[in-house]
């Protein structure tokens, strides 16, 4: 069964204090790994899709990396406006998976000025 586990559940950082969020997954053939940002009362905002181990993508202060077992979302010198819940999801090639995304529970990030 495809599974996604995110850690930590919550993270508090001071402005400028870099850190990483973890997404561990088990799938029967990875089709894609997705990162989203979700603000309270809003729908998830697409950040990145990673397709194969070794792939990296960057956007402003965010950098996503992928291995065969996990993905990291690195946040460099975060600002208060980076405060949000970050969601990881996988899409697999498994016979029981027709293309749906399986989501982790998310990491809630709070960046204090």
């Amino acid at each position: 069964e495809d599974q996604v586990t995110q850690s930590p559940e919550a993270l508090r950082l001071q402005e400028g204090e870099s850190s990483s969020l973890n997404c561990s997954y088990t799938v029967s053939g990875l089709r894609g790994l997705f990162w989203y940002r979700q603000d309270p009362g809003k729908g998830p905002e697409f950040l990145f899709t990673l397709y194969s181990a070794g792939e990296e993508k960057e956007k402003e202060r965010l950098k996503a990396t992928l291995t065969k077992k996990e993905s990291f979302l690195h946040i460099t010198a975060p600002k208060p406006e980076d405060s949000a819940t970050y969601l990881c999801a996988v899409q697999s090639h498994g016979s029981s998976n027709t293309g749906k995304l399986i989501f982790g529970q998310g990491t809630t990030l709070q960046v204090k000025p």
């Binding site: 089709r31 894609g32 997705f34 989203y36 809003k42 729908g43 998830p44 905002e45 697409f46 899709t49 397709y51 969601l87 999801a89 027709t98 293309g99 749906k100 995304l101 399986i102 989501f103 982790g104 529970q105 998310g106």
Partner: protein, 113 residues
Amino acid sequence: GAGVSQSPSNKVTEKGKDVELRCDPISGHTALYWYRQSLGQGLEFLIYFQGNSAPDKSGLPSDRFSAERTGGSVSTLTIQRTQQEDSAVYLCASMGGGRGSIYFGEGSWLTVV
């Protein structure tokens, strides 16, 4: 429009009533998803449409839930005889192409009183 559009944005209904939630995907996107997010919880898969293929209904929680997609575009999620536990945000997402990014709408907030 440029993004996934959902309506209504908020709906309060009485227990036992039927509700319909609408999703307009991004133009040209062939795949459409419905997810549910209860307060403080992760995203729960409901149903997935891909082109003319049979939809993946494996996430629908009961036979009170149904969805259709007309003309390969607009989708409607129907909840019959609503219960209080149906209160949640219902999120729609769409994807174009086999390895495209998946974009979410802002959701329909359903409250059953």
